[in-house]
Amino acid sequence: MSVLLPIWFFSERDLFETQRLRLMLFFFPLLSIQQMQFMLLFSRQGKLRLQKWYVPLSDKEKKKITRELVQTVLARKPKMCSFLEWRDLKIVYKRYASLYFCCAIEDQDNELITLEIIHRYVELLDKYFGSVCELDIIFNFEKAYFILDEFLLGGEVQETSKKNVLKAIEQADLLQESQNEDWGGLSEDIL
């Protein structure tokens, strides 16, 4: 009897990337990574609005994590606690109006301060857009990313002062506008 088994069912690159992070964790166990692993924003309907990954993962893995997490978080009742253990990570989430903000941190990390990271980010968005709503994030997603980059970098808090973050963004905006004047418009095919 000879059964042909589907041994090679995914591509080689895929293979390596998926597990890169785990591999690193294996080889540098001393280096306990204490940082945010990723941040997701999704709506009550489960639509992903923003994603930021601070650890390298393949797209396939990212999709899987997102799907699982959105389901888990949406299934939780309002009065439950904002932290939950998921795989070997801790999830900290909070709901603002129709949006869920959800961060994955390491086991040893401080949950409450992460909760306030979320809040500070919401404040920043709110201040920048002027009472932010889901649509602002959908249509100005690039701004949302820039604000996040100014606030958090590589999964660590970079600047906690609201003023300083917004100043940086406004400066960038100014630069953009001053250039817009002498400039015919971005060619359509770029994005």
Binding site: R20, E116, E142, V157
Partner: protein, 861 residues
């Protein structure tokens, strides 16, 4: 591609969009990285803070190894340069942190490190925040170099804690001064033991006291953000107090503070309080203080609506348990088990089993608890748990009669769990005689009771029961004929399962021909087990990771001596070594009184009640050497195949790291049971090669395939190859096979291109006779130049064209990467078509490496 073009634009908008695209969409391994790196380099050199910021953000977002290679040297300079803008410094610090996490080996330590530490004194709190993150991570790896950060961090923390809420302007968050920075500083201090300098130490204690005091003050705001930020700092301070574990006063205060939180109306705080208290419970100073909250915790277990909070409560109960409250806690846990969520049942079962054993003063209580456990959650009681109860009963003769009586009573329930039948069968087989005096549990009644469960049980349990029956023959000669009738029946003697059939046949013969003396010797009571670490504990550790249960281990050791003490001498009878299989803690090694019935498939039968896996490692499977050789020049393919099993490999290596996927395919239509593949490194190999494997599912369904991942790290050069041993049961037979795993030194090759001139220059440098190894051998395969080329490339070295003056010869060069060193290798292969011979010459900087590579490559042609 468009995005990369955008990066080089001078327009801010275009650049920004380009960076955004790359940050979001480019994976860290993309080929575009090289192009991107160029654009980033220009921006970093631009001295325009906005552009530099964008570039640094991009590096931090992508954070690949290629990026680390390109920028790890550059960024520290930006970070400590005097004229760098604050915002750029912040980005640079975190960017460097990201690169350090990705590739710590590429970030050079140097004089910049001391200057980074001084960033803790920076005027700009944002810079301090960013720098603290970086320093914390660096200090974890290089504590000595960053020692000075302790006193700086303490004084910074002290300034923050004592500042009025308005002092720090925008860094005050809902009336809490710089909460993020405080948390980070406290985290940094957790990398070190308590400061030695009494002044620094006193100042730190003051800080921690202030933080604890503030928790008692009335809140300055009703907003949840205020209390969250305040408590975030408080919890981090408590973590530090627990980490130092040296100030009893602070520990008790922390515990009282957490006690208040246990009843807080915020679910979040209750959750965190339970979590922190778990660690507090392990400190000798605060253990007692934690125990005072037992009622609250038990209440939480009953009333919390959120399963994650209840889980924390279980953890805490487990942590606070000691001899004084064990009975109460175990009872509460058993209570909770009946309604517990399925997801956490197994863990609770393990915890109950451990606590019951550890704190048992009275072993009847222990037996009751475990039987209860099986009754309530039989499905979640793993083998380790019931193995353990049998082991304890056998080792303690004061509890044997009680155990026999209790299991006998428990078995009378109309429906009982199979695990109970197993425990019952075993205990009655050993100690049934202790209760046989009572007419209500006469031998025949015992036998009938067990046999009434027989047909409902799975094959392993039935096998166990058959062993019990033969023990009964010895214990109660009066029911010998009844038992013989059962053994003789067709359903036993002609059972489809080989194991059952064999047991029935052998036991029947044994009972007929052996004299009572022989029978009594063969079926003597089990000798006590040598004490080992409880396998339940091992299992819990595996589940929860090390660390969480380590404190138990020590107490365990002290316990084990009084539990097993008297029995110790008796078990020193046999010289057999403990088997590596995780069976009943030594059952496989226990009795020396092996019967000698016609032994057939696998060894003695009376003893293998539990030891399904033979301990010995099978010799290498035939033909595996051929296969091994094929894998020297390739990474993927089928490593081994017989009628039952196919083993496929897929592997990838980078520098000194690698990852191998092993695919086990079950070619039959029957399940493989107890499927355990093990990768074995010989003692010589172990220091040079780090292998990490993940366990695989012990059952492999017919036609199914399971995958196992092996992570590989080459520490230094090595000769041998690891061996993959696979053991499993297929239909009642035990299979054991070994193959060499093709992890060879050449896998860590990195090809190097070089010109003819370079090559010969290096070749001459390696002229020491020890560095050269030459082999002349006969060709085993047709001598085809193209195939040879492919093999040399597959071997891992670069194939250098037009280097050798004779175009028929092949020349290669490469570097072997190991964790400790890199070894340059040059090779030359000269074919002689007429003689059908080759001459292979290798020159490397290390004798052993030349030798090994020559061996490996010679096999290929």
């Amino acid at each position: 591609m468009e995005a990369v073009n955008l990066l080089s634009s001078n327009r801010y908008t275009e650049k920004q969009i380009g960076y955004l695209f790359i940050s979001v969409l480019v994976n860290s391994n993309s080929e575009l990285i090289r192009l991107i790196n160029n654009a980033i380099k220009n921006d970093l050199a631009s001295r325009n803070p906005t552009f530099m910021g964008l570039a640094l953000h991009c590096i931090a977002n992508v954070g690949s190894r290629e990026m680390a290679e390109a920028f790890a040297g550059e960024i520290p300079k930006i970070l400590v340069a005097g004229d760098t803008m604050d915002s750029v410094k912040q980005s640079a610090a975190l960017c460097l942190l990201r690169l350090y996490r990705t590739s710590p080996d590429l970030v050079p330590m140097g004089d910049w490190t001391s200057r980074v530490v001084h960033l803790l004194n920076d005027q700009h709190l944002g810079v301090v925040t960013a720098a603290t993150s970086l320093i914390t991570t660096l200090a974890q790896k290089n504590p000595e170099e960053f020692k000075t950060s302790v006193s700086l961090a303490v004084s910074r923390l002290s300034r923050i804690v004592t500042s009025a809420s308005t002092d720090l302007q925008d860094y005050t968050y809902y009336f809490v001064p710089a909460p993020w920075l405080s948390v980070k500083l406290l985290r940094l201090l957790q990398c070190y033991p308590p400061p030695e300098d009494p002044a620094v130490r006193g100042r730190l204690t003051e800080c921690l006291e202030t933080i604890l005091n503030k928790a008692q003050e009335p809140p300055k705001s009703k907003k949840v953000q205020h209390s969250n930020a305040k408590n975030a700092v408080l919890f981090e301070a408590i973590s530090l107090i627990i980490h130092h574990d040296s100030e009893p006063n602070l520990l008790v205060r922390a515990c009282n503070q957490l006690g208040q939180f246990l009843q807080h109306r915020e679910t979040n705080l209750r959750y965190l309080a339970l979590e922190s208290m778990c660690t507090l419970a392990s400190s000798e100073f605060s253990h007692e203080a934690v125990k005072t909250h037992i009622e609250t915790v038990i209440n939480a277990l009953k009333t919390e609506r959120d399963v994650s909070v209840r889980q924390r409560a279980v953890d805490l109960l487990y942590a606070m348990c000691d001899r004084s409250n064990a009975q109460q806690i175990v009872a509460e846990m058993l209570n909770y088990l009946e309604t517990a969520d399925y997801s956490i049942r197994e863990e609770i079962v393990l915890k109950v089993a451990i606590l019951a054993e550890k704190y048992a003063v009275d072993y009847t209580w222990y037996v009751d608890t475990i039987l209860n456990l099986i009754r309530i959650a039989g499905d979640y009681v793993s083998e380790e748990v019931w193995y353990r109860v049998i082991q304890i009963v056998i080792n303690r003769d004061d509890v044997q009669g009680y155990a026999a009586k209790t299991v006998f009573e428990a078995l009378q329930a109309p429906a009982c769990h199979e695990n109970l039948v197993k425990v019952g069968g075993y205990i009655l087989g050993e100690f049934g005689n202790l209760i046989a005096g009572d007419p209500r549990s006469s031998p025949l009644i015992q036998f009938n009771l067990l046999h009434s469960k027989f047909h409902l049980c799975s094959v392993p349990t039935r096998a166990l029961l058959l062993s019990t029956y033969i023990k009964f023959v010895n214990l109660f000669p009066e029911i010998k004929t009844t038992i013989q009738d059962v053994l003789r029946s067709d359903s036993q003697l002609k059972n489809a399962d080989v194991e059952l059939q064999q047991r029935a046949v052998e036991y029947l013969r044994l009972s007929t021909i052996a004299s009572t003396d022989i029978l009594a010797t063969v079926l003597e009571e089990m000798p006590p087990f040598p004490e080992r670490e409880s396998s339940i504990l091992a299992k819990l550790k595996k589940k929860k990771g090390p660390g969480t249960v380590t404190d138990l281990e020590e107490i365990k050791r002290e316990r084990s001596s009084d539990m097993n003490g008297s029995a110790e001498p008796a078990c020193a009878t046999d010289g057999s070594t403990p088997s590596p299989s995780a069976d009943l803690l030594g059952l496989s090694a226990a009795p020396v009184t092996n019967p000698a019935p016609p032994s057939s498939t696998n060894g003695s039968l009376l003893v293998d009640v539990f030891s399904d896996t033979a301990p010995a490692v099978a010799p290498l499977a035939p033909g595996s050497d051929d296969n091994f050789a094929r894998f020297v020049c390739k990474n993927n393919g089928v490593l081994f195949e017989n009628q039952l099993l196919q083993i496929g490999l897929k592997s990838e290596f980078r520098q000194n790291l690698g990852r191998m996927f092993i695919f086990y395919g079950n070619k039959t239509s029957t399940q493989f049971l107890n499927f355990t593949p093990t990768v074995i490194c010989s003692d010589d190999l172990q220091p040079s090669l780090n292998l990490q494997t993940k366990p695989v599912d012990p059952t492999v369904d017919g036609g199914a395939q399971v995958q196992q991942v092996v992570n590989i790290e080459c520490v230094s050069d090595f000769m041998e190859a690891p061996v993959l041993n696979i053991q499993f049961r297929y239909g009642g037979t035990f299979q054991n096979l070994s193959v060499k795993l093709p992890i060879t030194l050449n896998k860590f090759f990195q090809p190097t291109e070089m010109s003819s001139q370079d090559f010969f220059q290096r070749w001459k440098q390696l002229s020491n006779p020890k560095q050269e190894v030459q082999n002349i051998f006969k060709a085993k395969h047709p001598m085809d130049a193209e195939i040879t080329k492919a093999k040399i490339i597959g071997f891992g070295s670069a194939l250098l064209e037009e280097v050798d003056p004779n175009p028929a010869n092949f020349v290669g060069a490469g570097i072997i990467h190991t964790k400790t060193t890199q070894i340059g290798c040059l090779l030359r292969l000269e074919p002689n078509l007429q003689a059908q011979m080759y001459r292979l010459t290798l020159r490397t900087s290390k004798e052993a490496v030349s030798q090994r590579l020559c061996e490996l490559l010679s096999e290929q042609f």
